[in-house]
């Protein structure tokens, strides 16, 4: 690296928005979709399974055990094993990341519902709430902080994990890493790291803001 600066700003300006497939802004867009779709899918799948585990307690132990195993599966090898089924498309990355999301969010949903105090639940029953209305109006709102804490973990690690998909050409900003390596040129790698960390912190902050909006009683109590 003799005399070569760590970051070549002119490269960034030239490649930010060229309108071609490899420009930084299009990679950023691709990254956002590939990282956040698994978070949404994970929540949509984990919510009913988590609720079922609360309703039928015996389901929880085996489900949690299975999810522990799923969470331990390494992402890159799983991408590879999916290749014959999904091809070199974004699904190869999105599917495993969704499974990680489910693995983290099921315990979050179960713990969240378990955090509802018994007297609150009994009050709701006494006030004549049907089970469905009790779930929607009482239990789920109280579970929000625990579920959102899980969601924040999933979102941040998903944003960072998408980049591994670059090894099969589907990594969003991760493609900047393979690009940097092939050309022996550090600037794209620095840009990729900075953008991914910034994106993760932004999404984390937004989820934190959402939590404050969704649980106004915590602010009123002064505990949040």
């Amino acid at each position: 690296m003799d005399g070569e600066p760590l970051v070549r700003w002119d490269w960034i300006w030239r490649n930010w928005s060229t309108g071609r497939a490899g420009s930084i802004d299009s990679l950023l867009q691709q990254h956002v979709v590939m990282a956040l779709l698994p978070v949404v899918l994970g929540l949509v799948v984990a919510l009913p399974i988590g609720l079922a585990c609360v309703r039928w307690r015996w389901l929880y132990q085996p489900t949690a055990g299975l999810m522990n195993v799923v969470y331990a599966l390494p992402s890159l090898p799983v991408f590879m094993l999916l290749l014959p089924a999904t091809g070199l498309g974004p699904a190869t990355v999105i599917i495993p990341l969704s499974f990680y999301g489910v693995a983290v969010l099921i315990p979050a949903v179960v713990d969240g519902i378990a955090s509802v105090p018994d007297h609150v639940r009994q009050s709701a029953v006494a006030m004549g709430f049907t089970p469905l209305r009790r779930l929607l109006r009482v239990e789920l709102p109280i579970a929000v902080p625990v579920v959102l804490a899980g969601l924040r973990v999933v979102a941040v690690s998903s944003i960072s994990l998408v980049s591994v998909g670059a090894l099969i050409g589907q990594g969003g900003l991760g493609n900047l890493f393979t690009d940097a390596f092939k050309r022996d040129f550090p600037t794209p790698a620095v840009v990729g790291i900075v953008l991914i960390v910034a994106l993760a912190l932004l999404v984390d902050g937004l989820l934190l803001a959402a939590q404050r909006l969704l649980t106004p009683w915590q602010r009123a109590r002064g505990s949040a």
Binding site: M1, L6, N68, V69, A72, L73, P74, S75, L76, P77, V78, M80, L81, L83, P84, V104, P107, V153, V156, S157, I159, S160, L161, S163, V164, A166, L167, I168, G171, L173, G174, L176, F177, T178, A180, F181, D184, F185, P186, A189, V190, G192, I193, I196, V197, A200, L201, D204
Partner: protein, 223 residues
């Protein structure tokens, strides 16, 4: 499924410097070195911050950022800056990946010890260091081991990526297979890494069962 027999049935894959046993040992060595270094840094720091309560804010801030850092990017950057003459360009990102879960779980474990228990230990005449070693660490052990387990599994998974930068380990089968369009090698390597990660997970779960004092039955999860 015949790629499995293609890969595992070929005797050439079972010997020599690029055979399965050699690659497995490389993978194990890289992962173990990274985990050990991370533990040497994160365990004392987590114990100290949890015990004294100083710098707790530092933990929350570091862990959030650290979880967001893409290891592949860090790996490429260090390899470009330092070259591949030493193993440090691979070890530094792996340690950066492995340290935060150990740090946060050790900290949470020590901090979560019942204050009454801590006071009782002081009341019995134990000094600060003794309280830490004889009371806080045994009680926090489930969480400390959970942190080590999460780190170990992540490190084993991510050492695969190290092959991209030209280093050894089981990732070589995947990266080389991708480059030469040899799917049998890609899938065989992938299966090996998955099995390795699951074995590590199982090993640490068993360690958790046997190492934790029977008096400490509390089971908590922090990620």
């Amino acid at each position: 499924m015949n790629w499995l027999t293609d890969f595992f049935g070929d005797p050439a894959h079972w010997s020599g410097p690029d055979g399965i046993p050699a690659r497995l040992l490389e993978h194990l060595a890289f992962s173990a070195a990274a985990l050990l270094l991370a533990a040497l840094i994160a365990l004392p720091l987590g114990l100290w911050i949890g015990h004294t309560g100083r710098g707790a804010y530092f933990i929350v801030a570091t862990v959030n950022v650290a979880r967001a850092i893409p290891t592949l990017g860090l790996l490429v950057l260090f390899v470009l800056l330092l070259g591949t003459t030493t193993v440090w360009p691979v070890l530094i990102p792996l340690v950066a990946l492995a340290a935060p879960p150990i740090l946060v779980n050790t900290y949470e474990g020590v901090r979560g010890v019942d204050p009454d228990l801590r006071d009782a230990a002081y009341g019995m005449g134990l000094r600060g260091g003794q309280v830490l070693g004889r009371v806080l660490v045994p009680v926090a052990l489930p969480l400390i081991l959970l942190g080590l387990r999460l780190s170990a599994v992540q490190v084993v998974a991510t050492t695969t990526v190290a092959a991209y930068a030209g280093l050894g380990g089981l990732g070589r089968f995947i990266i080389d297979g991708l480059a030469t369009k040899d799917y049998a090698s890609v899938a065989g390597g992938a299966v090996l890494v998955v099995l390795f990660a699951l074995a590590v997970q199982l090993l640490f779960t068993l360690a958790q069962r046997t190492a934790v004092s029977p008096g400490v039955s509390r089971r908590q999860r922090v990620r």
